[in-house]
């Protein structure tokens, strides 16, 4: 992203090279799906709105990968930690009685301090274990999710819309956002043309955060972050406090994950608690990798392309395959494609940085 506009012909060649075979296959597959869809009788506008919708839900969660990849902390398998901050914000906002779009705003506001505190602790931990980030991140995510499972039961929530009706305490596994912030963003400036529906607000919100991200990477600190990820020894010799930069990146990633889950919920219409955040990290990780990122390089373009490709395949395959051969293999395809992509990225040697 930071290298746009110059000698574009050379860049296109490089782009194809950088693209890599797996990505090419996935793109080809999605294009094939888009061509086949109308032939087998699936409604193309509906399909496209589906993809756009899913993009608007998931984009920010994928964006949350960017800071940590940039600072060399690797793929953030600890995304659930950020998601938990978001869930805390969401539930507290509702508990405090906010409704409508205001509840969304309040959820963002409340989840921010949680994200900062959790993110700082998480970042501090990751600084202690440089080199083993990804595995530990995974388990930090798992541990925090299972710890929160207890908390959802124990914390003194009372809002009747959220707690189990019988017991009067303990949050439900899914909480409807009807009357709260369901489609709070999507409804803003929504465009409807026939079957085509575009949740403009949500997309704009993603664009805003993506722009802020892009802008951040152009500031002094952002530049330092990229340098730390590219070569921590270089950064250190240039007087950068590597640990601090990494910490900032982890906090940013955690905060974006918190916002990301809130945006996801406003689109989806429900808050999912308990075990739901467990595997939220994997789709986001594979999406950004499909978009062309590697373990230590990622750009906003990777996020956009990756989310569209990933969500495209996830939403298109079931309908197309069902219409075509009455065989829904989409789930299996999703598992193989997304995990295969992560495997591919992990087995590639990371160039440059030591």
């Amino acid at each position: 992203m930071e290298e746009n506009s110059i000698n574009s012909s050379g860049r296109i060649k490089g782009l194809i090279q950088d693209f890599g075979l797996p990505r090419l296959i996935i793109t080809g597959f999605l294009i094939l799906l888009l061509i086949v869809a109308p032939i087998v009788g699936a409604d193309l506008p509906t399909q496209i709105s589906n993809i756009i919708n899913r993009f608007s839900w998931n984009g920010i969660l994928v964006l949350a990968m960017v800071p940590m990849v940039h600072s060399g902390c690797g793929l953030n398998f600890g995304l659930p930690l950020g998601i938990i901050s978001g869930l805390l914000g969401a539930t507290i906002s509702i508990e405090l009685g906010f409704t409508g779009p205001v509840s969304f705003f309040m959820a963002v506001l409340i989840s921010t301090p949680f994200a900062i505190v959790f993110g700082s602790l998480y970042g501090w931990l990751l600084n202690k274990i440089k080199g083993g980030e990804m595995m530990i991140a995974t388990y930090v995510g798992f541990s925090s999710v299972s710890l929160m499972c207890m908390m959802w039961l124990l914390l003194p929530y009372h809002s009747p819309n959220m707690v189990w009706g019988m017991a009067g305490k303990g949050l439900r596994t899914t909480i409807s956002l009807e009357g709260y912030y369901k489609e709070a963003l999507a409804d803003i400036l929504q465009i409807n043309i026939g079957n085509l529906m575009i949740p403009t607000g949500a997309i704009l919100f993603f664009a805003l955060l993506a722009f802020l991200m892009w802008a951040f990477l152009h500031t002094k600190t952002g530049t330092a972050m990229t340098a730390v990820g590219s070569n921590p020894d270089f950064a250190r010799s240039a007087g950068i406090n590597v640990d601090k930069i990494r910490l900032i990146s982890v906090v940013m990633s955690t905060w974006l994950a918190a916002i990301g889950i809130l945006v996801y919920e406003q689109g989806f219409g429900f808050i999912q608690l308990y075990m739901a955040p467990f595997y939220m990290a994997l789709p986001a990780v594979s999406a950004i990798l499909i978009g062309g990122a590697s373990v230590n390089k990622a750009s906003i373009m990777n996020v956009v392309i990756g989310t569209i490709l990933f969500q495209g395949i996830v939403t298109m395959t079931p309908t197309v395959m069902n219409n075509m051969i009455h065989l829904d293999m989409s789930e299996v395809i999703r598992i193989i494609v997304s995990n295969g992509m992560i495997l591919y990225a992990l087995t590639r040697k990371t160039e440059g940085s030591k």
Binding site: I129, G131, G132, M135
Partner: protein
Amino acid sequence: MNKTNLGDIFRRFSVPLMFVLICAVCAPISGLSPSYLANEIVTRMGRNAFLILSLLIPIMAGMGLNFSMTLGAMAGEIGLILVSDWQIVGIPGMVLAMIISVPISALLGLFCGKVLNMAKGREMITSYIISFFINGIYQLVVLYLMGPVIPIKHSNIKLPRGYGVRNTVSLLSMRQKLDNLIPLTIAGVKIPVATFIVIFLLCLVIIWFRKTKLGQDMRAVGQDMEVSKDAGINVEGTRIISMVISTVFAGVGMIIYLQNMGNIATYSSHSQIGMFCIAALLVGGASVDKASIGNVFLGIILFHTMFIVAPKAGTVITGDSMIGEYFRVFVSYAVITVALIMYETNKRKNKSRAGEELARAQEEENEGAA
């Protein structure tokens, strides 16, 4: 020197000690009778020990905790599903399932080893993702190919739509056949003697294996790949072999596990097996780079005691049965997290300690010189 050693020992056994504490507190609260507990633990020992033992060899070869032991578990399940459909029952059924699972496990282990050789230094996260990836392939086979491609006859296994396997496959015909082969009950505790004999044999094999040339090579590779390579050891090959052996053992272990359970949850039995086997091993005092047979058994006793008493104790304390359930899940994950963190920080600490010592020596010398 002595002081730090004591501290190190304490650190090394901190996880088992913590578990002893948890169990000591929760067991009385749970109100479960000692004989019930003893029965449960003996059952679980027979059920899980083989699986957990399969983790030891990759640790020896320096490849860390083998999260992709699920691959073997899947191979074992495929063997059992086929055998059930062929109506081979009892111990012969198990033996046949094992024979079928071995080549599948070996192939998967080979794949896994090759991939891990491409991802040196991040074996664990990679093997973790491999388990998900192969799970996709497993689903492809079991859900779509079983029926049309791999013949499945019986309607209690095959889905009515004509392809795919049902959510659960009953193993009633071989349920606990191995456990009850040699019946023995001591003080009300039923002992699965035959299973224990099998486990004991595996322990012997592992101990013997450590004394072989291959075992020695694995230890060498596990400690320093470069040096081993210079000495002419085929490093990559050795690592692959260790994965193959682990996967094959895991496959056999899964069959023993499932014969005790009495049915297969086709799509989920394997998914978490790696996770809780690893947790149990770590609870037994193992670390990412060091594990012994003793760790396995201590781990099973402590981990499963916690597993049995925690929900009950949770219910008693909070009045909500789910709290205890969540608690034990949390503890399992937390144990793995803590073990991983300790492993990584130790690695760093060893480095910085070497630096400190050098600096101190120079300082002393400086003082002498000044």
